[in-house]
Amino acid sequence: MKPKTPEFGRFAEPSLLILVSLSDGPKHGYAIMQDVEQGTGRPMGAGTLYAALARLEEQGFIEPMQAVDRRRPYRLTAVGASNLADQLRGLSEYAQQGLRQLRQNQS
């Protein structure tokens, strides 16, 4: 499977998790962290979150909104939504392929 965001390096997976979280609507950083932790059962530190957010913003995948009490929400852009859909389709196809291979090997 060809990675869709190779330039993100080790922040590719956190970036994808952030995009998935924002697909539900705008969220500020802390809400994203909570969402990711609840969804994956794995911690996301503030350092990782902001390293990924900075890359996503730079790529135009997300955009900042007006800050409220120092909390700045982010939202998915059209480019970000399209990229997320591409990545999820790729992952889904890859997962389907894996399941097919498993079934073939088990039968």
């Binding site: 390096g9 350092g47 997962a95």
Partner: protein
């Protein structure tokens, strides 16, 4: 400490993200995992803004992830008892290989503790910081003791304590830290309670033997002591390995199963 951590980021980064980042850090208590994560984030920001860029870094790079913490916990769980056994067996011969192995195990377990403490620190920040600080201090004491043994031998080194006494106190600081970490993990249920409970029992037995031995209640070498030490070491090791293994499995890419 939070202000200091933010100051580690480049000024340009702080101008853009500083306020919201500070707000996030105020939302919940920070544990050793979070601090390590922020230090790496600051390093990443410094490199990126200097054009050196960490963009091409792979997941195998230096990162305080669950995977690294899990691997360190497993490695430490092997090195620590191995060093303990070797230094006990060869005490009258050349104890340094065993001591060095034990020190390596102490440092590795400290890395493991940092990597695995993210969730526990959300609920029990003081307990986790204490669990980190005691073995961190113990590691320094172990290094001082080890160097002292080579320099002054058996003569008192600090506060009337011999290098060996400083060394052994440092080693048991790791056991104390492991006990506290096990308690926090057991209470938060982040990892299987069996693993945390086994670690707590192993550490508790080792501490008990150490305290009883240090108090002089047991005269001479009680035949039960080696048995208890062995049982404690096995439980200590099994507990850390189970925690490390669970962490590595937990860190399998969650999105790959989507």
């Amino acid at each position: 400490m939070k202000a200091l951590l933010i100051r580690l980021y480049p000024a340009r980064w702080r101008a853009r993200y500083g306020d919201e980042f500070a707000a996030i850090l105020e939302e919940r208590p920070l544990g050793p995992f979070d601090v390590a994560d922020i230090l790496l984030g600051a390093l990443d920001a410094q490199l990126r803004l200097r054009g050196i860029g960490a963009d091409t870094q792979k997941g195998t790079g230096f990162s305080m992830s669950l995977r690294l913490g899990g691997a360190a916990a497993i490695l430490g769980a092997i090195l620590f008892p191995a060093g303990f056994a070797l230094s006990s067996v060869s005490a009258s011969d050349d104890p340094f290989p065993g001591f060095a192995l034990l020190l390596a195990g102490t440092v590795t377990l400290l890395v493991g503790l940092i990597g695995l403490s993210a969730f526990q620190a959300r609920q029990h920040p003081r307990l986790i910081w204490t669990a980190f600080a005691i073995p961190a201090l113990g590691t320094v004491m172990s290094i001082v003791g080890l160097v002292g043994m080579g320099v002054v031998g058996d003569r008192p080194l600090l506060a009337g304590l011999s290098p060996w006494a400083i060394w052994i106190l440092g080693v048991f600081a790791t056991v104390v830290g492991s006990t506290l970490f096990a308690l926090a993990t057991y209470r938060t249920r982040t990892f299987p309670r069996f693993a945390a409970g086994t670690l707590a029992i192993g550490s508790g037995v080792l501490l008990g033997v150490f305290l009883v031995g240090a108090s002089g209640v047991i005269a001479g070498v009680d035949p039960m002591v080696p048995v208890l030490v062995l049982a404690g070491l096995v439980a200590f090791s099994v507990g850390w390995i189970a925690l490390g293994w669970t962490a590595i499995r937990l860190d399998q890419p969650a999105i790959a199963t989507a």
